[in-house]
């Protein structure tokens, strides 16, 4: 993942690199062109000057010979050479690389020359003017070095500017991002987005605010719907239950009627359980149980052991409780109780007869293991009404309640399938360990 501000920076850097790279040959060509045309002009002026003076002064042939040799000695840039036949009198421009002892770098120099012809005293002479030109490799090297330096300055500048922009212009954006990260729909809180003088951010915050407010409203409605619906269902369920009790008291009921009545009991108690669990879930989600105290996890295990004793015996389940240390946590006692009872009763319900259940308390971990045949779908395990078995009594809410409680207390829960055992492992971070009570 790239950070927002790094993306343009990278693009800018690459773009400026390309432009600067392209600029190197262009600079070179332009400089070389100017350089050469200037030199050609200079050569031409020198030539004109020399030619005019030679013609005006009307030197003798001997003198010309001497001038030529003196020039050759002192000023190699201009030379006068006598020709034996008549030339075409066509000026020409040339470029040459010659060895030069004064050049310490590579011993060579580039020259730009102009050749012209002149007729003096009936003889034909060739005048050539040469000027040293900066060598192309040197030019390219210099330009490259300068360009590279500028590139560094440019990118450095981009980075500094970027940081300045980030800390100023983008500040509201990052603030908004932070607030959004902290936002939790299930926590009843309003979101406070920062004000900004930048139109886009202002619009974004505005849209986010209305989006979030809508969601919060929908969420609240949904929550209160579940709660209200289950509250409303309480009374008819209570009535059904009490009517059933009265019906059982009727005299002279046939065995068929009695068995029908008995069959109604099971779905009725399931209905009652689902409804009760929905209420518990709503209560947990609504933070209606915020009263906290210090709780000893092992104490709750012991209570549940007594409570579920009959159910363990009924299925002939062997219970092993391994306690290395107890855990002291700060939470709501109803929540911890619900959590442990749900996991424990789950383990009992899903255990085959004559099997075993292990409860392990070790460091900050509490785990419930019961034997099972195949791994459960851990992805949907904690979702509401995701029935993993054909079992009839399940309310489909037990594990969602567990998950919600775990979430609210910032604990952790994991499911794994180990050696034909379903293992639910609870972790209580930041808890205190108590010595093994036994």
């Amino acid at each position: 993942m790239t950070k927002l501000l790094h993306k343009p920076l990278k693009a800018f850097a690459i773009y400026s690199l390309v432009i600067l790279l392209v600029s190197i040959p262009v600079y070179f060509l332009v400089i070389d062109y100017i350089w050469i045309s200037e030199l050609d002009e200079n050569n031409w002026l020198t030539l004109q000057h020399t030619r005019e003076n030679l013609q005006n002064k009307s030197y003798s042939e001997e003198e010309l010979k001497e001038i030529s040799s003196i020039w050759g000695d002192l000023h190699p840039g201009v030379s006068l050479t006598k020709l034996n036949e008549k030339p075409s009198f066509q000026d020409s421009v040339f470029e040459a690389v010659r060895p030069n002892v004064f050049d310490v770098d590579d011993g060579e120099d580039r020259f730009r020359g102009l050749i012209s012809y002149i007729e003096l005293n009936g003889n034909y002479y060739r005048i050539s003017v040469e000027t040293n030109v900066e060598e192309s490799d040197e030019t390219v090297f210099a330009i490259a070095v300068v360009t590279f330096l500028f590139f560094i300055v440019l990118v450095g500048g981009f980075m500094v500017l970027n940081r300045a922009i980030a800390s100023k212009t983008w500040k509201p954006f990052y603030l908004t991002l932070e607030r959004l990260k902290d936002f939790n729909l299930s926590k009843d809180q309003s979101i406070n987005l920062p004000e900004s003088d930048i139109l886009e951010f202002q619009e974004m915050n505005h849209s986010l605010r209305s989006l979030l407010n809508n969601n919060v409203d929908v969420y609240r409605l949904q929550k209160s719907f579940t709660e209200n619906a289950s509250h409303e269902l309480q009374t008819p369920i209570a009535l059904l239950k009490s009517k059933m009790d009265l019906l059982f008291q009727e005299k002279g009921l046939s065995p068929e009627t009695l068995s029908l009545l008995e069959d109604i009991q099971a779905p009725l108690s399931r209905l009652s359980r689902i409804n009760k669990n929905l209420l518990v879930l709503a209560k947990v989600e609504n933070f209606q149980l915020s009263e906290k105290e210090e709780l000893d996890v092992y104490g709750f295990i012991q209570t549940s052991q007594i409570l579920f004793e009959d159910y363990l015996k009924e299925k002939n389940i062997l219970l092993e409780v391994k306690v290395e240390n107890s855990i002291e946590i700060v939470s709501n006692s109803f929540l911890l109780e619900t959590l442990i009872y749900n996991l424990f009763s789950n383990a009992i319900r899903h255990s085959p007869k004559d099997s075993s259940i292990q409860i392990v308390l070790k460091k900050d971990l509490l785990s419930f293991s019961n034997s099972g045949e195949k791994e459960l779908d851990s992805q949907h395990l904690f979702e509401r009404f995701s029935t993993s078995s054909a079992e009839k009594i399940s309310s489909g809410l037990g594990l969602s309640i567990v998950k919600e409680i775990v979430k609210q207390n910032n604990w952790e829960i994991h499911y794994k399938f180990l050696k034909s055992f379903h293992v639910f492992e609870l972790r209580f971070p930041n808890s205190k360990f108590l010595p093994n009570p036994s």
Binding site: T235, A238, L239, S242, D245, L246, L258, D310, E314, R349
Partner: protein, 224 residues
């Protein structure tokens, strides 16, 4: 025995009265806050069954009213709002018991009986059925003056049975009585049979006549 039932759900109130009718209780109903407070102020009851959500006010305020008036009536809260907070508040305000809706009539009947027994414990701390004697204070059971040792659950069941004499008790009512709220976490309550069987055996072995009758396919009944 006079009982005041403060409950706005008429049908439920009728069921409660019908179930309790055979026990020589005199039941009165108050359907809202005002009539309830009027009855509380003007009459004496042995037991008050109190719903917390009432038209016209909260049941908790009625508890406060009872307390302020110095009334000694035993109160059982019967509430659809199974909230720990209300339970604690109610018990702190002087309520004696809390029963969450939906409940089995048998459970309510047993709790009423237990409450009345406690509030009249001078005259009612021992009960006899033929040669069976139950001492509620000492939590001891005797047959022909010889103690029968019962487990806690068996003793609980015995009290539940005598609180619902001549009533058919379903397996689910018995299981709920023994396991409380958690009974409906399980699909099978066969353990109830084992406890009842043990209780019956112990009483029979001690020479008690068979008062717990098995009702085929349904549950049990205490006939005395």
């Amino acid at each position: 025995m006079k009982i005041l039932l403060i409950e706005d759900e008429e049908s439920l109130a009728k069921d409660v009265i019908q179930y309790l009718s055979e026990k020589q209780y005199l039941c009165e109903i108050a359907k809202d806050f005002d009539s309830a407070s009027e009855k509380i102020l003007n009459y004496e009851y042995d037991c008050i069954l109190l719903d917390l959500m009432l038209p016209g006010g909260s049941g908790l305020d009625l508890l406060q009213l009872l307390k302020n008036e110095g009334k000694q009536e035993g109160v059982i809260i019967i509430s659809a709002k199974n909230s720990l907070e209300d339970k604690v508040k109610g018990l702190n305000l002087g309520a004696d018991d809390y029963l969450a809706k939906p409940f089995h009539q048998a459970e309510l009947a047993a709790r009423i009986e237990s409450l009345i027994r406690r509030s009249h414990f001078d005259s009612q701390n021992v009960k006899t059925f033929e040669n069976l004697k139950i001492d509620f204070l000492a939590k001891k059971v005797q047959v022909d003056e010889i103690e029968v040792v019962l487990t806690k659950k068996e003793y609980d069941l015995l009290l539940f049975f005598i609180g619902n004499r001549n009533r058919v008790l379903s397996k689910s009512a018995l299981a709920e009585h023994l396991s409380g709220d958690f009974a409906d976490m399980f699909d099978s309550h066969d353990f109830v049979y084992a406890h009842v069987k043990n209780l019956k055996r112990k009483l029979k072995d001690a020479g008690c006549s068979e008062m717990i009758k098995t009702i085929y396919g349904t549950g049990y009944k205490w006939e005395a």
